[in-house]
């Protein structure tokens, strides 16, 4: 994940503004730039369809949410009655005409206790259920994405980085999870709160309610103003933070080069430049977003004071009671909170829609071309391979392989040579059907490879690539990756054939040693040997291997070559060749340049031809022979 993503993660708005009349000195209001989904409605509808199967559960959640909120709203007004009773009792006592009715007050208090407890209980049940629902849905989303990963054709990944796909599984699905577990119930409770509080306020006094409502437009204007202003600086801040991070990343990872070319001062100058700009946008954005809370509180206090004045006057006029004023003050406080929440929710929904859209986009990627309905089943493959007028391009509009034909008999060795970046692995990808040819056909034992199921076809190929992919498991598990049912004996035999047995036994736990996450607790060369053992154990009739063994020490390199020679014997093999000995002994050499196969033939034939291959060969022979 990039650092930028980390930042946005941390700057998410604090999910729940504090309740009540809290002085919120340093409220760091989130000022995320609202990401916009391309198709908000459609995405939301589809997201809701995921919720459809929890209809009944959600119905209960709704009931609990409403009940909890209503109970919470009844509280202040009821409690206000106790205050009123007390106030009147005291007044009567001073006037000498009565006393405080504690029985009545006690009853009210008991009732309020019960509804508060009930409200908390319901809110708890609601959260409990909702946590399960959102966990379920999150789990399903992740599972669906993971299943999809293995269904999507390779060309999708040509244009998408792994980071992007990873980010869908973690960040995007996480966003959805948060919305489901928090914001969804928040929408319900906020709406119920607003409506409920309004009703309670009107039931106390319409004049005071109007005053309280008059505050709203003011706060709206203030909020939009601040959000607009601070968003500008927030964006700037993110941008300059990006610049700084980019520069730091670039300079630190190129530290030696920077030093070698005496670039310290230049680099520091660039940094200070960005750092200065960052400072000015950073404090402004922090200041403005930090101003949100106090301003909202100011508006709230305006309402508070207005209500107290108005309420006091109304009490004198005996229109309302003192307890109602007390309740009203609490309602005014409770009123602004759900409104801020609702205002924030549109942002949350936008962000959720954007996240969900990315997840759906991934889930909607078309899978590989469907398998044939009538697959060919071969008991044993001989190893004939034929390319018949193959045309191919990663992008159909840009064909790179044009009308290629060639034949390989069982046991033959086909070398693929060419300069770096000539597209040597393309042949591998076509043979394994990671990509399908545009036209023409590749035949194995006389059958078009598209007539096999992919699994059957690939079962017949062994593959050893330069990229030594192993996973975070034991060495044994890694060797038996291609043949999970292999016996211990077979595994050891394969390791022996791959010249890996010896080094495995010198490792701390031998075959049971767990490779670490970067599989860096064994060397590159040892990794290569393990991939060879893995291919040997799978015992394929056809073999694809990449000889490149750069950054492997010489002794291991010799072992690897011996292991590869073991592997190649009696198998039809396609070798991305780097060794002259392999090339010279090959039954067929395919010479590639810029994606296409430019020449084919044996070493002798190709030299005679005096073309690209001869050129390539001579250029190094010249130095070698001196």
């Amino acid at each position: 994940m990039s650092d930028k993503q980390n930042f946005s993660e941390k700057d998410k708005p604090a999910a729940s503004p504090q309740r009540g009349r809290g002085p919120m000195g340093g409220g760091h209001m989130g000022m995320m730039k609202a990401e916009k989904a391309k198709n908000f409605k459609g995405t939301m509808r589809r997201l809701l369809s995921y919720l459809a199967e929890y209809k009944l559960t959600l119905f209960f959640v709704l009931i609990f949410a409403i009940a909890s909120t209503i109970f919470m709203i009844i509280g202040p007004k009821t409690l206000g009655k106790a205050t009123t009773a007390l106030f009147e009792g005291v007044m009567a006592k001073i006037a000498g005409t009565g006393t405080v009715d504690f029985l009545y007050i006690g009853k009210i208090i008991l009732f309020v206790l019960i509804i508060y407890a009930g409200s908390s209980l319901f809110s708890f049940i609601m959260g409990w259920i909702m946590a399960r629902v959102s966990a379920d849905i999150t789990y399903r989303f992740r599972r669906d994405v993971s299943l999809k990963i293995n269904e999507i054709p390779f060309n999708y990944y040509d244009n998408t980085t792994h980071g992007e796909t990873l980010s869908r599984i973690t960040n995007d699905i996480d966003t959805i999870n948060q919305t489901l577990s928090q914001s969804l119930t928040q929408i319900i409770t906020s709406i119920v709160s607003i409506v409920g509080v309004l009703i309670m306020m009107f039931s106390i006094d319409w004049r005071m309610t109007l005053i309280a409502l008059a505050i709203l437009p003011l706060s709206m204007v203030l909020v939009t103003f601040i959000v607009k202003k601070s968003q500008k600086y927030f964006k700037q801040q993110q941008e300059f933070l990006g610049h700084i991070n980019g520069h730091v990343e670039e300079m630190f990872s190129g530290h030696m080069v920077m030093k070698a070319f005496n670039g310290e001062q230049k680099s520091i100058d660039t940094f200070e430049e960005s750092n200065k700009t960052l400072f000015s946008s950073a404090w402004k954005s922090q200041f403005l977003s930090g101003m949100m809370m106090p301003l909202m509180r100011f508006v709230g206090n305006l309402g508070y004071v207005a209500v107290v004045i108005m309420g006091g006057w109304l009490v004198i006029k005996r229109i309302i009671t003192i307890g109602e004023v007390q309740a009203f003050i609490q309602y005014v406080n409770n009123f602004t909170q759900p409104i801020t929440q609702i205002a924030n929710i549109s942002n949350v929904l936008q962000r959720t829609a954007a996240a969900a859209e990315r997840v759906f986009e991934f889930l909607d990627v078309e899978g590989e071309i469907a398998e044939t309905k009538t697959p060919v089943k071969l008991d044993s493959v001989e190893g004939f391979v034929e390319f018949k007028n193959v045309h191919f391009g990663y992008n159909p509009n840009e064909p790179i392989i044009n009308n290629f034909s060639a034949k390989a008999k069982p046991g033959q060795k086909i070398a693929i040579v060419g300069p770096t970046g000539a597209g040597k692995t393309t042949m591998v990808k076509l043979l394994m059907r990671f990509y399908d040819v545009n036209s023409g056909a590749i035949m194995v034992d006389g059958h078009n490879i598209q007539e096999f199921t992919r699994a059957d076809l690939r079962r017949n190929f062994g593959m050893v690539l330069q990229d030594t992919w192993l996973y975070n498991g034991t060495i044994r598990d890694n060797i038996s990756y291609g043949n999970p049912d292999a016996s211990e004996e077979e595994i050891i035999k394969a390791a022996e054939a791959a010249h890996a047995d010896h080094f495995i036994r010198t490792l701390p736990e031998g075959y049971d040693m767990v490779l670490n996450e970067e599989t860096s607790n064994i060397s590159q060369g040892q990794r290569q040997l393990l991939t060879i053992a893995r291919a040997i154990l799978a015992d394929p009739k056809l073999l694809i291997l990449d000889e490149a063994t750069s950054s492997v020490d010489t002794r291991t390199e010799i072992l690897i070559q011996k292991a590869m020679d073991n592997l190649m014997s009696s198998r039809t093999s396609f070798v991305i060749a780097h060794r002259l000995s392999t090339i010279k002994n090959a039954d067929l050499i395919l010479v590639m340049n810029e994606g296409d196969i430019v020449e084919q033939g044996t070493h002798v034939e190709l030299l005679k031809k005096d073309g690209f291959y001869a050129d390539l060969y001579n250029s190094q022979f010249e130095t070698v022979a001196s």
Partner: protein, 742 residues
Amino acid sequence: MLKLFKYLKPYTFSILVCTALLFLQANMDLTLPDYMSRIVNTGVQQNGIDSAVPVAIRQTEMKNLELFFGDKEKQEILDAYTLLEPGTGDAVPLELVYPALKNEALYILSEGAETDAFEIVFSRAFSAVAGITQMASGTGKSSGGPGMPDLSMIPEGSDFFSILSTMPEEQRSQILAMISSKVGQIDEIILTQGALRLVNAEYQAIGMDTGKMQSRYIINMGAMMLLFTLISILANIIAGLLASRSAAGMAQTVRSDIFNKVEHFSGEEFDKFSTASLITRTTNDVTQVQLVIFMMLRMVIYAPILGVGGVIRALGKAPSMAWIIGLAVLALLGLITIVFIIATPKFKSIQRLIDRLNLVTRENLSGLMVVRAFNRQKFEEKRFDKANKDLTGVNLYVTRVMVIMMPAMMLIMNLLSVAIIWVGAHQVAESSMQVGDMMAFLQYAMQIVMSFLMLSMIFIFLPRAAVSGTRISEVLETEPTISDPENPEDLPSKVRGRIEFKDVSFTYPGAEENALSGINFIAEPGKTTAIIGSTGSGKSTILNLIPRFYDITGGVILLDGQDIRKIRQKDLRSQIGYVPQKVTLFSGTIESNLKYADENASEETLRQSAEIAQAMEFISSKPEGLNTPIAQGGQNISGGQKQRLSIARALVKKAPVYIFDDSFSALDFKTDAALRKAMKEKTGDSTLIIVAQRVSTIMKAEQIIVLDEGGIVGKGTHGELLKSCEAYSEIAYSQLSMEELS
């Protein structure tokens, strides 16, 4: 973390002002409930009358009160008032305010008179007079007034006060003393409240507009509240301004200091911290600290002020209820602690499980070909599902802990307010408190609880920032191991480029064994010295010692006979054209990258260097030529092209010494050969030191050094070494066939 506070020093003044402002703000915020309670107590309950000392009183009434004044007090009180007779010049203009002045004499309180001392005197007197009047007028027939003497012997309907004045002195003072002592036993609050009602009655008797006085009182108080709110917000905004500027300013300085520091780090420090970690320390960690400093400047300062202020004021209102707040705070802290104890380990494991999920996914993605080649999709899905289930489970657990916490907190807060009302109600009934005070107390309680919650919030953020702070300090406290000598030697204006290693040894910091030992060789100008050996034999290490990326631990390296440690790093490095193993290009254009070696290089030099590096061909094929943009890390061009640009860049320097660290392996044989040929021709006089993997690359070198396990095992030409050096021939035979070697 603490060490970083010194960065706040330049902002001491700002922070002090900020603290003062927050103090002001807290005080203003805490004043609001007090004013609300005044509105309730005085404005509503006492009709807006806040003093038992009346501003106006009828002469007749004053006479009655006088009976209960002490002699000294009596004189002082009468001095504070002016007696106005009806119809006199002074009285007429005041008739509008005091209608009774038309008919009778009134005492009017002089403006600015000091009345505080009279409060209790008037309260007692009013109560005494009222008690007597009440009983005497028959409403108190039962004679059950609050501790009044039995006055039933007084004939019905007669004026007690006129009787009293006619009584003999001794009897009169006895009765008065008895009444006074009874009144003295009455609780002061109820005494005052009663007196205020009587004052109100007196005002009404005078005919003053008491309704208007009441509204005016409420509006005045309201206006004060508005004023305080305004001051509070202004204080808050300015405090916010200062806090954000201080935090951002501090972050700027810290960031700049780290960056400067790191730019002067040698390879050793980079190995110690790792590049990725240094990047996070300079970026994320600083941002983290900035955020927390900002929060600290506001919350950590504000919360205790508010909390302590709240406690003081709450105690002022009702010390007897303090235990309720204490209990609530304890309950909340207990709840938070329990939740943290339960949730913290789970939070940690969540991070672990997310990492696991990421790992499994990343493995699946990076191994797409292998997974599909071996048909192990199902296996990968199972692995993912396990990670997914684990994560979902713990996530659900943590969410549910939080689900318990929120309603529980609400419940505690609600219980707190209910408890205050219940206990408060009793105290109000017992007259030890007023209703408005109880309401204010409720709000203080909430403010105190809030300040505790705020503080506990900080404790969530603090540990994370502390980690960041420590990581930053670590960098700042690290001194680069390689620095310029105090009295550096100058290099001659023309450097030949002869490099000599004299018995050089080198140990990586913390390593037990030498990475290099006993290295002796001379690289002559105009000649190529090649270094070959298996991985880990120390080839690159030798190269890194020449530009002093690391300093040798033994022996000496000489450039034209001068110890390289006695020269300025800058001077040394300007003599060396370096091509690293891992190609590093910077974002910009091809031209800006080439010019990185020499800003003043001419276009001609650039082209020539690119030509030698075999890069001109692909540069010309780009529509924008030398101005072709290069993305960060050079991602928009191929590996071979990057390598060629990297070589060209070094050549632009026209240095006397060139070092190539395995720089040819990304090139195909053909380019490799052409490049070496061109180099030989154009860089004729320079010293060339090359590390290589391919024997074919170095076969022609004048001197080949074979390394094995940090030591030199062979030195000579290709032909010599084939015969004499086993390690060399082993490498050579593994790469080349017999005939090629011949």
